[in-house]
């Protein structure tokens, strides 16, 4: 099998998003421009594309990354967001045809699992994506059964995940908001920590077309908490979409013009680096489409040399600060 290239610089990213509510904060944050009719897709397509650029912050030479956000649009008949796998697969194929990206990100909201450490507001990047509703038993070789589950691997990016303060794990997809006992059993057997409705479909398209793929999912509800998914989902949709925007922005700022392979491994605790970087982002301002506010002296990825001595000093100071904050938070939590 030909694997996607992860050693080339990431210059162009497609972000596929199912719901307008999930897409809006990112579009507004970066002032992405909507493509007018005729857009980049087959005439009549429901997908809506927005394009712009994000300034990168991985080295002293400020460069930018071209970003195309593709929202799946609304269903003609029911006027609802085109959620679930069919629309996601079509949007991914159409976006790759239109924009030839170096990376596709399926971004959105999702369910987490309390017993696996998931909390509302967490953001996860996929290590791999599976389906939990494609049951295709086949006795002879089992190949069709495994094809059903999918096992679409994302490139290793643990240093990147550490740097932006997100978790990583197996993302599991079905076309339903709720789940049956059989769905839960399949998710458990595949080690899923995130349950959502699009990622595996995008991932299959990307695997087929050899484009690197990452799912980035923000938790709106806890699947195993015994609360109604629908209510919890809508209650947290806004805040989770906002958290998603923050992490997605941060990820793309760090990725700009760097190969994905640079971020393959990391040894520093994710929460520390994340806190450090979040603090830095607030201190130094955030990248924008206009280029008027820029991130300066952001730390290099884990394992790479900081760009300057001043950067190193600032990084160490922030790490110490975050260590202290984390210690306090831990003490407070234990005290409850």
């Amino acid at each position: 099998m030909n694997l996607p290239t992860v050693s080339a610089p990431v210059r162009c990213v497609v972000v596929v998003i199912a719901m307008e509510e999930e897409a809006r904060p990112f579009i507004e944050k970066h002032g992405l421009k909507k493509h007018q009719e005729p857009g980049p897709f087959v005439s009549g397509s429901p997908m809506v594309a927005y394009s712009g650029q994000i300034n990168s912050c991985t080295d002293d030479n400020q460069s930018h990354l071209r970003v195309h956000l593709v929202w799946n649009g609304r269903d003609q008949k029911y006027k609802v967001n085109n959620v679930a796998t069919t629309a996601a697969a079509v949007a991914t194929y159409a976006s790759i045809a239109a924009f030839h990206p170096d990376l596709v990100v399926s971004a959105g909201t999702a369910g987490g699992f309390g017993e696996l450490g998931g909390n509302i507001g967490d953001v996860y990047a996929s290590t791999k994506c599976v389906y939990h509703n494609r049951r295709i038993p086949e006795g002879e070789t089992g190949d069709l059964e495994e094809y059903g589950f999918g096992h679409y691997r994302s490139p290793p990016i643990s240093a990147l995940a550490s740097a932006i303060g997100i978790k990583q794990g197996v993302v599991s997809t079905s076309d339903s908001l709720e789940c049956t006992a059989s769905d839960l059993q399949l998710m458990r057997s595949e080690g899923a920590v995130v349950k959502e409705m699009e990622a595996a479909a995008c991932a299959w398209v990307c695997q087929s077309l050899r484009v690197p793929f990452i799912a980035l999912k923000s938790i709106t509800d806890i699947v195993d908490a015994g609360r109604p998914t629908e209510k919890e989902f809508y209650a947290n949709l806004h805040s989770a979409s906002s958290a998603l925007q923050g992490k997605l922005t941060h990820m793309l700022q760090l990725l700009g013009q760097q190969p994905l392979s640079r971020w393959a491994t990391g040894t520093v605790s994710s929460s520390l680096v994340a806190t450090a970087l979040e603090g830095r982002s607030t201190l130094s301002g955030e990248a924008s489409l206009s280029g008027k506010t820029k991130l300066h002296q952001l730390p290099s990825p884990i394992g790479a040399a900081p760009s300057s001595r001043r950067g190193l000093r600032l990084e160490l100071a922030l790490l110490a600060l975050s260590l202290a904050c984390n210690g306090l938070a831990l003490l407070r939590r234990r005290g409850r």
Copy 2:
């Protein structure tokens, strides 16, 4: 909602098929030519396109219909046929982008229901397509829930179904070969007579892009017979694919250059006309890509005038013959 146009002549048809075994008989029958690299899709796409033409037989002026069969291809990793909705949706979008068809047909094999009159070897055309594994409960309006089920309508073609001797009904789609109690309940509540794995995904793409869509499904197994689906499916795959080829060929021969609206209604018993036409087809030879064997004086669709007096006499004789055969069959069945 803008509905697909059914009043324009059908000059170009895309047939989307998931399994090579299902596609092979039709490709061979019509000598369709495989597109070589670079094909009509995004580089690296798994789909494989075959093109050719089928001679129509709806009037005295022999004309032809351009046909593109698109097989979903094989999965890179597991080397199995790209079954299920993700690949079907992508193939449908990519085929519409490449070929601009007047009609898309999702052709393949499927499960039937014994208690609803389904038998192995039956071929069904969709009246509408639904999903039985997209459960998206939503309290406020219910729109998202109905979006989940889909309700993608095919144009009315009861005269065409009668003419080629196929059944019609609701086709229900999921990504699984087997089904859960919840799946069965949903199928029952939507009146499904066919259970398969691709049609609704193709139908959504076609509805979005306003291209008329028909699912044509040949029954390999009986869902409610209590036998293992997998074994029955593989045992009947070859014969069902062969039956599918026959009915698909017949359908396209009749459709050639005629608007779909011509076939909207029919008043004559389907089994009679089907038998008549099947008899005629055997008597007169079958259309082929080479154009060397041609169908002459085939009856016009129900409600239209036969093309000649000789045609009318032959049609009446065949109807009488089929009436006699059907009467005998009925007596035999009652006698059991």
